[in-house]
Each structure stands twice: as C-alpha cells, then as structure tokens.
Amino acid sequence: MFSHECGNFSGYRHWPRRRDDASCKHETKQIDAEDVLQMSSSSSLINALFIFVLAGFIGFEVIRRVSPLLHTPLMSLTNALDAIAVVGAIVLVGEHKSQLSAIFGFIAVVAATSNIVGGFIITDRMLKMFKSSRPAAKTVAK
C-alpha cells in the first residue's frame, strides 16, 4: 500500500482528501497520493525541525541564565507555557469532527487550562515572595 510497492510515480500535486483502499486498480492516483503525502510532510518536517532545533537552542541559552534561586518558579512557569497545547485541544473541540475527538479534546482543554491558570497564579505568588534586603528594595516591599 505504499508507493514503493507499486513502483515510483510522481505527478499531480493535489492533496487527496480520501483514499479508497479497495481501488488498487487505480494505480496512478494511488501512488500519487502517497508520494505527495510523503513529500509534503517531509518538507514540512524540515521546516519543523529547523524551528525545533533553533527554539531548543534559544531555550538552552535563555534558561542557562536563570538564577538557581528561581528554579522552582521557572518550572511552574514553563509548565504554564507548555499548556499552550491547549490550542490543539481547542481545535479538536471546536471542529467537532467526531464524538471521540470532541470528548478527548474537551478533557484536554480542561487539563491544559487548569495548568495555565494554576501555573501563572502560583508562579506569581512565588515571585512576589522574593525580596531583597537592600534598603531601596525593602522600602518598596514592606
């Protein structure tokens, strides 16, 4: 069922919405679909990899500089930011493509939102506690 099973082929560049598995007679269309699927995903793979590696690099450089004082709030903050996965879940719920995807999406939105809300609240509470003993900061704090 994959492209190499039926030989190589490439041509039309339309995105197949549906593929009829039974119609193996329509070899050309079948192969084309698979090829495009693989090709377009491999080019978006490269894009995505670039972004992933560069973002990881930025993350590494930025987080290396975070004061060890703040490692606990850092973790709760990254947890809140990580809950941006909520966007994927929102799409699942909103598009309502199937019963299952809507239910899974719903639970996922709840879980991620509670992370966002809880994560930001507790990070803020923790950071408010960190006070300096220097006089200037003290007058502000107290």
């Binding site: 995903s41 993350g59 850092l74 966007v87 929102i90 899974f104 996922a108 939102t113 006070k131």
Partner: protein, 465 residues
Amino acid sequence: MSPELAGGQVVIEILYLIASVLFILSLKWMSSPTSARHGIWAGEAGMLLAICGTLLRHGIIDYKLIAIALVLGTIIGIPLGRVQMTAVPQRTALSHAFGALCVTLVGSAEFYLRAPNISRFMMSVLAIEVILGGLTVTGSLMAAGKLQEILPQRPLTYKGQNFVNFLLLAGAAVIAVWLVIHPDAKTLFPIMILIALTFGVLLIIPIGGADMPTVISLLNGYAGLSAAAMGFVLDSKLLIIAGALDGSSGLILSIIMSKAMNRSFTNVLFGAFGQVATAGTALEEAKPVRSAIPEEAAAILSAASRVIVIPGYGMAVAQAQHKVRELYDTLSKRGVDVRFAIHPVAGRMPGHMNVLLAEADIPYDRLIEMEEINGDFPQTDVALVIGANDVTNPAARSDASSPIYGMPILDVDKAHTVMVIKRSMNPGFAGIDNPLYYLDNTLMLFGDAKAFVGSIVRELTGGHS
C-alpha cells in the same frame, strides 16, 4: 495546508509569532528576581494572544463546548494555584501530569481522526508524542503521590526491574514501528498507550525522596518534548517552540540536578534512579556524639559573628522556615552575619529551599549557592544544619566506598563549630551514615527542627529583653 495563506490565517500566524516571542522573553526575564514578574505578564499576554488566535480559526464551529471547557479548567486551576508553598513539589508533579494528559489525548484523537491516512513521518512523531505523554502522565501522578505521601516514599526495588522496564519500552517501540508501517492497525494503538502508562508507573516505583528533584525535572523535560512532538503532528510552530523551550528547561534542570548528585546524564535519562544501595551502611557500633541543649546552642550562636544555615528537606517537613526567619532576625539584630547555603538538590525539587525561605520573608540575597559559599566555611564560626543530611556528608569527599562518593557537598565540616538539628541518629533516606556527626567540632541538637529553633530564639531574646 495550502501554500497560499488566506488573510485570516495570516493574522492568526502573526498572533502565534508574537506569542512565541513573548514566551521567550518571559523565560529571559526569569534570569533575575527583579525582572521575573515581567516574565509572568509576558507569558500571560502570549497565552491570551495564542488562545484568541486559535478561536479565530476557520473550522471552529462549536464555541459553547470550548467555553465550558475553559471555564471548567479555570475552576480547577485556581485552587491549584493557591496551594501551600510546602505543597509546591507535588503540585508541580501534578501539573506535569495534566500537561502530558492534554498532549496524549490530543495525540490519540488525531490518530483516530487520521488513521490510516498517516504518513510514516507523522505516525512516528505521533507515537513519540503519545508514548512520552503517556509515561509522563502516570509517572508524574506517581511522583505527586509519593510527594504527597499518599504512596510510600521508600524506593521499591525488585530483581530484574530494569529488564522489565526495558522490555516494556521495547514493546511500545515495536508497536510504534508496526503502526508506522501499517497505520491501519488501529487496535494496536490503545495497547501502545497502555504500555506507556504502565511504564510510567514502573519508572517511578524505585524512586526515593532524595531523587525527586532530578525526576521532577526529567518529567518536566518529557512533558515539553511530547508537546513539541504534538507541534510536529499539528504542524504548529508555536507548539514546537513552546515544547522545545519547556523541554530544554527540563533537561537543563535535570543536568544540573544530576551533576549535583554526581550522576551522569545518561544515568538520569534512562531512569536508573534509586540505586543507591543500602550497602556500606552497616551501622557501626554507636560512636560517641556530642549533643547540646537549646541554651548551649543559643550561647554559641550569640558569640558567633558569622553563621551559615544549611536548610534541607527536614526543614520543609517540620515547617520550620518561619522559626528560622525569627532566628535570622534575632541574630541579624545582634550584628551576626547570617547567610543560607543552598545545595542544588536540597529538598524535593529544584529551588525548593529558596521558595520556602523566601516565603518566610528571608531576603533572597542571603541565599547563596553551593559554589559561591563553599569557600567561606573555614571562616565561619557556626554552620547550623537544619534538616539536611546527605548534602553535608564529608564521606562524599573522602570515602571512595561511599555510595555518594564524588557528589559535590557543602563543606560544612570546615566551619569552626557545626550544629546539626536532627530528630535522631537514624540515617536519612539513602541510609548512608554521616561522619559529620562524629566530628570533634560537631554538636548534635536532637529534636524537631521547628521546636528546637523556636527554643533557641526564645533563649536569645529572653536573655536580653
């Protein structure tokens, strides 16, 4: 999917771009306590933009259900943000579980929506997403249970543990590969998730309390990486960026923690925790220790001019941080220079001690990292150890047979006088005897940390006011 983006989509993508920049700034501002709160605002703004952008998306029809879910999440989230500071480690573990749950559910839903029309690459990332997500869900729940003491904190080990774990992981990998080749084998998908969930439980079973800082960091990293994988699946750059940031944060913290415990990073990555054998303990015949009562301790402290306090998990358990602040205030008023030495793995999560002491209003410029303060111990009159054990154990420097040999420690023993507040002579979690307690310059202060510090403070203030 089409190369030409519609106008609305451009707006959404730009919102996502701004959100990504705000996320990076948010982490950048965490570099210092003075700018850190800007970081939260940036993070919140980025999150708001991203969610609004998503709601603008074309295919979204069911807004009511989204609204209900958002409200429900907020209702759950508020109490989770308002927990006691002492409960922060388990709260953090719980939120790793929630984050991973979201990723795993979205990944599963995407699989059932798309299968069998899934390219090999997509299926591979999807498998990574749900396996990492699944094991993080149960692993984090287990960690939270242990930290909350719902589950026994003692590490549970059995013969062939690593083999069983390896077998499970291999099983999940085999199914993943099978699904990559035959994405129509839908029935295998739940089995793969089940294995990942089981693996998460088994991964945390052998973990003891002292390993928690590393484990929490590692789970943080896993949660981030699974979110990044989800970004690949959904072709969402924002998600890839946020996941990569979170993943690198978790990995950096794991590296710092593993270095502070003298474990190699690969050792940590493959979860070979909890193997600090109880060997080498063989509790020798009770060696003589010198102990002191609060009056004596107070007298020594009031005669000192430089004091370093070494807090550990015991301080957190006894909730002694506020009493410690009183001691800090009293001594500071008398002109004693009091500082706090923070070992990276003191407590149950990275930065745990800093948060507790900050909560007790101790200024953060008094909290000094290990590398910075270690050179000062020889000029220190009193080192006061409160509920810390392994991180002060000189055997790590001198005794090659010790299980913690090579672990960087606070050189407490070099201070003129060492005072250790401890409940009894029982060795800590790791079951390693601490030669510090038998030194000539060490005084053992037996008792509950909170009560003992309280009586020292009473002695100090009572005598003079």
